[in-house]
């Protein structure tokens, strides 16, 4: 990542921590611990191996849900963007899925299938899938007709069409769906864990909530936000830059 940009972001986070520290000192209440107290809570969870174990379990659920939601939602979305009939048929279902509260889906799946792992992950996928489909539908609609003609005239193979014509056009939409997807999925996973699992960050938050342990709640939140920020800085942003190299006209003739 660009050092200047990284420095800006680190400074912004530092300013936020300073503000938090000032407010917590002024308020001086166990309901708003200082950054140091949250740091101690984080260290305690780390020492007792709960932090990494919980993070690992939650991340695994996030990863599985993310992959399935992107794959299924992406394919449905692109096909809806390409075929008007399919769009007409599936659009009302998509609108219904978009408007069902996440909590309702989670509770219903737990009631119908029990408090099992498959129900938990399926609830997250069902919540995220319509957002991915809506975003990728726009991508499918924006396919360049002239490039389609080119692919026909020059007899591109299916693999060439997929990798060289369609994927680069869909990439910006996939990145939008990925970013909003990660943000949404991990929040839903925590709710799913809180309601019906006995491990993961959501479960730890549930335990901390029962004793009003705000420091531990914030410690887990910060740990997870850090992981997502790490993914953004070291995976998504490099991918973005790599995919947009062709847009730079630095050595224009």
């Amino acid at each position: 990542m660009n050092t200047g940009r990284l420095l800006d972001q680190v400074l912004a986070i530092f300013a936020l921590v300073v503000l938090w520290w000032l407010v917590s000192v002024l308020v001086s209440s166990p309901l708003l611990p200082t950054p140091a107290e949250v740091g101690f809570a984080l260290n305690k969870e780390w020492q007792q191996d709960r932090l990494m174990e919980s993070l690992g379990v939650t991340l695994q659920r996030v990863a599985i849900s993310f992959v399935f939601a992107m794959l299924i939602g992406g394919i449905i979305g692109v096909l809806m963007g390409r075929y008007k009939l399919l769009n007409r048929v599936l659009d009302p279902i998509l609108v219904i899925l978009l408007n069902i509260p996440a909590l309702v889906v989670i509770i219903l799946l737990y009631i119908w299938f029990g408090l099992i792992e498959v129900a938990a992950v399926a609830a997250v996928i069902i919540n995220k899938l319509p957002n991915v489909a809506v975003t990728l539908r726009e991508g499918g609609r924006m396919f360049d007709h002239e490039l389609e003609e080119l692919a026909v005239m020059y007899r591109f193979t299916f693999k060439q069409k997929l990798c060289d014509v369609w994927w680069p056009q869909l990439f910006p939409y996939i990145m939008i769906a990925t970013r909003s997807g990660l943000a949404l999925i991990w929040k839903i996973v925590l709710v799913v864990e809180l309601l019906g699992r006995s491990d993961g960050v959501g479960f730890q938050l549930h335990l901390a909530f029962q004793v009003f342990d705000v420091a531990t709640i914030l410690a887990y939140s910060i740990a997870f936000i850090s992981v997502v920020q790490f993914i953004e800085w070291f995976i998504l942003q490099p991918l973005d830059r790599r995919a947009s190299r062709w847009q730079k006209g630095s050595s224009s003739v």
Partner: protein
């Protein structure tokens, strides 16, 4: 010889083309002249097989449209009005999609003096260069028939002259290669063409057809004006 019989074409509820035939002999360059909006590109798209329902191609020695427009190696190379290079692929990557042998691609690039630009993206080269790359991509198909849709539009005079020279050398002077060349520029017709058709009217039809040798510039100008 290639012959295309078009049954007419309706676009957005309006008939833009009447039934018409276009014939080009082997090794011949046939120019299609007509004012803007007369349906020249539509006609070229029909001949290219991009809209198959309203036209029927015939090629000497080939049995049917399946051969000419089939999924195998195409007999028709289409140079679109815009270069249509994939913007996210370099010049070399664009050409390797059509011809996987890098040496052949580089040899062709040398022909158009662009071998130094293999790693450039289309956004980093000029329109004239992109047109030459598109010409190379078209020729890499080794087509028997080349369709060209106003390939010199928007080019400055020296670049257009250079591009015209390339088209003449690489296509017109090849006795095995035929070309249908759409333009509204009489200079291009007189320099490149062996025969010429003028399309006009509403819906458009062929209103004049002749060998370029037997027609004067003045006659073509008069026909285009009317």
């Amino acid at each position: 010889m290639f012959k295309f019989s078009v049954n007419g074409q309706i676009l957005s509820g309006r008939q833009v083309l009447s039934a018409l035939d276009v014939t080009v002999k082997t090794g011949e360059t046939h120019c299609l002249l007509g004012p803007s909006g007369s349906g020249k590109t539509t006609l070229l798209n029909l001949m290219a097989g991009l809209q198959k329902q309203n036209s029927q191609p015939y090629s000497e020695g080939k049995d049917s449209a399946d051969t000419l427009w089939g999924p195998a190696k195409p007999d028709i190379g289409y140079l679109f009005q815009q270069p249509r290079l994939l913007p996210w692929r370099t010049v070399l990557q664009n050409l390797l999609l059509v011809e996987p042998d890098k040496h052949i691609v580089i040899d062709f690039l040398k022909e158009v003096r662009l071998e130094e630009y293999v790693n450039y993206y289309p956004s980093e080269i000029s329109l004239g260069m992109a047109r030459r790359i598109a010409l190379v991509r078209c020729l890499l198909l080794k087509p028997d028939l080349v369709l060209m849709d106003e390939p010199l539009t928007s080019l400055d005079l020296p670049t257009a002259r250079e591009m015209r020279g390339l088209i003449k050398r690489l296509i017109c002077d090849d006795p095995t290669r035929s070309m249908i060349y759409v333009t509204h520029d009489l200079d291009e017709v007189l320099e490149l063409g062996d025969s010429v058709s003028i399309i006009g009217g509403s819906p458009s039809k062929i209103i004049y057809e002749n060998s370029v040798e037997d027609v004067s510039r003045q006659e073509l100008e008069d026909l285009l004006e009317h």
